[in-house]
């Protein structure tokens, strides 16, 4: 039969408003279609009523945007009573929900956890401290499962008794230095060090709780079957940032910094020390000719999250930026390099000279 009766739903009151159309990016479409065959896809819509909703897969985060249509889209399904001659209009829609990949909104974490820092010997403070649990954060932070776990690791946030506690940077450096020392004194290889041995010695001799050292170890390398394969670059970077952190407003000369840095990482890793490890956290200033370069601490994590505000701050700090320099300060606000270039195009002006590409502000902020 090729002629069908088009009828309203048999239960219009119940059906109206119960359908939504979701525009699926190819990768999401694939997840959904493969899900029906074997395992269930885990999709979540997350967000506080005052926030824009996001849709999370297990790996990625998408913002949900409503696009209004001038046309009407009818959702038509078969009829139960007359399957061959009738179809029902279940709902009439005037909007489509568009999904756009975004960076996970993890920056909220550092604000939420401001007073909950974990430091040496603050057991007394624990009772009075505000609490924010892992589970609570997981349901409130607009990020996918994988991004959330990675975010905790990158932000150096400990999970202690189910509560989130960012570790004090200085204390983290102390633990790392101790770890490096014990690797040598216990003559363990940094490729495969027994975690148990390290954790025990830190807990016995320095009263560092096992839960803390275990998590710190897992942030800086892979743990497999009780053996720690250290990620030297990550450790060296963290220690370097630890030294640089004291030089936010008072520049340190490059040579002096390197001396300190090499000293702290020890003989084994002295040769792996390089400035590029710290990209996104420092500024290198060349003053007048002949003088040596100085470094200041300039962490991209402390810059505004809103792109426009970030560019204002970047261009107030420096009038012009080299492409290689500015890109490190845009990593955490752009999903990929294409998005980053779009931001640059929108907020900065490119100039090419013999030294390469420079970026300057589109508008002048200073006058």
């Amino acid at each position: 039969m090729s002629e069908l009766d088009l009828r309203l739903s048999a239960a219009t009151a119940q059906d109206t408003g119960s359908f939504r159309l979701l525009e699926l990016p190819p990768e999401l479409c694939q997840i959904i279609e493969s899900a029906s065959e074997k395992t269930a896809a885990s999709l979540f819509i997350k967000g506080h009523p005052t926030e824009d909703a996001v849709l999370c897969t297990s790996e990625k985060t998408y913002t949900v945007r409503s696009v209004v249509l001038s046309n009407t889209v009818l959702v038509v399904t078969p009829s139960r009573s007359d399957p061959n001659g009738t179809v029902h209009i279940r709902d009439q829609l005037h909007e489509i929900l568009e999904l756009v990949p975004v960076v996970p909104k993890l920056h909220k974490l550092s604000i939420l956890l401001r007073d909950m820092e974990y430091d040496e010997g603050d057991e007394d403070r624990q009772a009075t401290m505000p609490k924010y649990s892992y589970e609570q954060a997981r349901s409130e932070i607009q990020a996918s499962e994988a991004e959330f776990i990675r975010g905790l690791k990158e932000r150096r946030i400990l999970v202690l008794e189910g509560q989130l506690r960012p570790i004090a940077p200085a204390h983290l450096c102390t633990i790392l230095e101790l770890l490096l020392n014990y690797l040598i004194s216990l003559s363990l290889s940094h490729q495969a060090a027994a975690v148990e041995e390290l954790v025990s010695v830190l807990s016995d001799e320095h009263e560092i709780p096992r839960a803390v050292s275990n998590q710190v170890i897992s942030w800086f390398g892979d743990v497999k079957e009780g053996l720690w394969k250290m990620d030297p670059d990550a450790v060296i970077r963290e220690l370097g940032v630890g030294i640089l952190r004291h030089h936010r407003y008072n520049p340190i000369s490059e040579n002096e910094f390197f001396k300190k840095w090499k000293n702290v990482v020890g003989d084994t890793f002295e040769s792996s020390v390089k400035l590029s490890l710290l990209s996104g956290d420092y500024l290198r200033n060349l003053s007048s000719i002949g003088e040596e370069a100085t470094l200041t601490y300039f962490p991209s994590s402390a810059l505004p999250v809103d792109p426009a505000a970030r560019f204002v701050e970047l261009f107030l700090t420096r009038q012009r930026w080299k492409h290689e320099e500015i890109e490190h300060f845009l990593l955490d606000i752009a999903v990929n390099s294409k998005e980053r270039d779009k931001l640059l195009l929108k907020h900065a002006r490119a100039l090419t000279d013999t030294e390469g590409i420079w970026y300057t502000a589109r508008v002048s902020y200073n006058n």
Binding site: R7, G47, D52, S66
Partner: protein, 150 residues
């Protein structure tokens, strides 16, 4: 606030669509796009249930037609630029329907406060039937007193 969106692509609607619609790509659900809105005259909500709207003719798969009242619409089958997932709200308990269009996120938020509600993706649709041309008036149809405007 967390809303679980489950994916259940098969057997969301029983029975299947008639074969002439099913061959458009999806055997349980089809999207029909109209210019303007479907304006159905009636006084009380209950009387709308199952009301006749028009006749959909798919004799020629490339040229579907829709007759609403004294108007004939000619349409075409279009492949969507991006596939659309159709989300459906399932409810176990009776609840009021939302009046008008509200802010999307707040509406979703309200839904979670009601434990009887869940959202699921019931279909992935890749084609739709679009009736984009002006309706043509037809005479001689007789009988039908249903009124619809497009």
């Amino acid at each position: 606030m967390l809303i679980d969106v489950c994916v259940s692509l098969s057997n969301a609607f029983n029975p299947k669509l008639p074969s002439c619609l099913a061959k458009l790509g999806h055997d349980e659900l089809v999207l029909v796009e109209l210019q303007g809105t479907l304006d159905i005259e009636c006084d009380e909500d209950t009387t709308r249930d199952g009301q006749f709207v028009g006749k959909l003719n798919l004799k020629d798969a490339n040229k579907p037609t829709l007759i609403v009242g004294h108007h004939l619409l000619e349409g075409k089958v279009v492949t969507l630029p991006k596939p659309l997932g159709v989300m459906h709200r399932k409810e176990s308990s009776k609840r009021h329907s939302y009046p008008g269009d509200g802010d999307h996120s707040s509406r979703l938020a309200e839904d979670t406060s009601n434990p009887g509600v869940s959202w699921g993706i019931v279909a992935v649709v890749k084609k739709k039937i679009v009736f984009s041309k002006r309706p043509m008036p037809i005479v001689n149809l007789g009988g039908s007193t249903q009124r619809g405007q497009v």
